[in-house]
């Protein structure tokens, strides 16, 4: 539910550095795991942090411009997909009481637990009750009592999913860290 809105760019930047308060960090992480665009943004912020702060010949003005442009691009992209997403909650008038906030967070947690992913792209349902599902964030096998999900690399795009007629799902992606292809299978039987 609440996971359908994207975190603010500032939150993503703070998240990348582990500087958010624990609950916002946790919630943002949940979202980032499912949203390729925010994964990309967070990865870029992480890379920026990893860059040495003292670099000779660095054009700071240009860098600032590029960062602004990136943020604008991200916000524009967010607006593009906004039609599919719930509108961001804007609190006006009296502030929400603490219980209300708590309730929203709990509903988010409940929704997160009850729904396995946001955008299933392939599903295999086995008569035993086992369900195989692929989403943008990973590939999973869901049984009666437990769910096992293997995540695709965080900054990966263009994941190729294949369904085998013998109850298996395959996700193939490139690991950006090594450049190697990683292939994940989940099995229904």
């Amino acid at each position: 539910m609440t996971d359908l809105t994207h975190p603010a760019e500032t939150d993503l930047a703070l998240y990348a550095g582990g500087d958010l308060p624990w609950f916002r960090q946790w919630r943002t992480e949940r979202h980032v795991h499912r949203c390729s665009r925010c994964q990309q943004s967070a990865a870029e912020y992480s890379e920026l942090r990893a860059t040495p702060s003292v670099v000779s010949g660095l054009n700071w003005n240009r860098m600032a411009s590029e960062m602004k442009a990136n943020i604008r691009l991200g916000l524009a992209a967010g607006e593009c997909v906004g039609g599919r997403l719930a509108p961001r909650n804007v609190v006006s008038g009296s502030r929400l009481i603490l219980a209300g906030g708590l309730l929203s967070a709990l509903v988010a947690v409940g929704a997160w637990i009850s729904r396995p992913n946001l955008h299933p792209v392939a599903t295999s349902r086995i008569t035993s009750g086992t369900v195989l599902e692929a989403s943008e964030s990973g590939i999973q096998v869901r049984g009666m009592r437990q769910t096992l999900r293997i995540m695709t690399p965080a900054t990966t795009r263009n994941v190729v999913y294949t369904v085998g007629a013998q109850s298996e799902l395959q996700a193939r992606s490139l690991d950006p860290a090594t450049g190697n292809v990683a292939i994940v299978h989940v099995y229904g039987e």
Partner: protein, 382 residues
Amino acid sequence: MFMANKLLLLSVLCVSVICAQEGPLDPNSSIQFNLPPNSPVSMMSASYGDSRATVLGGARVLELQISLTLRNQDPKRIRAITVLISAQESAPGGRASYSVPTLDVRAGETFPLKIDVQLIRPVQSASGPLVQVSLDGVLFEGLQFFGPNKLNSRRTMTFWEMQNQRDRAYLKQVLSTKGAVALQQEMLASFNRQTERPGLDVQVNRGARAVGRAAARPEHLTSFAFLNVPSAPVELIDGWADISGNEARDARIHLDNRSRRAVKYVEVGWIVKDSAGREFLAGSLPSAESDMYLPPGQRGEMLQDTTLKFSQGRNKPVAIASMTGFVSQVEFADGGGWVPTREALGNSHLGKLLSPSPEEQRLTDLYKKKGLAALLQDLNRN
């Protein structure tokens, strides 16, 4: 009544949040690594990053970020590796594998494996390691294999490696005969194929024929058309499936072994064409693991008691107008294998529908990120 329900909901949620706990994970008790005796790889290090466990009501959510460094202890080069990840091996709902099919690891060299696993299970579960990571197989140069092979990873990795060798040899040939510019064009064409490849969502219902089938309306048997793939050791003779709207059931295909070697496994690629004439690679039909043994010159049959439902997006069923099958993999009883040649793929429209080999995907990405010089360096290594 409505107010009472809201209060009840609020109470339940408040109890849940009180029960929610988060904490670091003890990797020693949570994760177990199993390397078989005489394993050709040894573990140099294992780290767990931000692995954590959260208890939410009656569920425990485990997020495991496993980074392994393995060393090749064998004199031969490693080409691929598969590890089995199991949460509860004896029951459905807990088995997966992680493979890297594009390795080139010499003797004594190390290589990383990074596996992110999320496991949701009841708090009241059996004791013992929550997740087990086991070596299922290692494929060396020359298609030699080591491992328990519980997941048939030998066959899977062998086919990947055959495709890899085919495409790597093809690209090296393009480079040597036509030059770097032609190689660049090949890379761009491959990249375009990968991005333009039409996607199709497939839902598989296994064994869906049992209940209510007798009462169902008459099915529409639709014959497969077959693409002749040159040099294929088996020939697809005839076949059909029950088609109803966007569903295909119980595919059945007859095939002849026209090679001189006994065949133990065949995989048939399945192309679906919709009413608008668009074609999609719908998946693959593998022969049953245990049933197939086809001596030279003999005829066999492949059956799948599954229902495949095709759609684009979540609510756009793809009505099946026609189906085409082609031989995509063959394994012989003597352990050898066959995959279509590059020429066969290029001369048909299969190249546009099939996903690239792992090696072609890796090289395309290398070219895209690091340019022609890096690609040439990679292709020129021994």
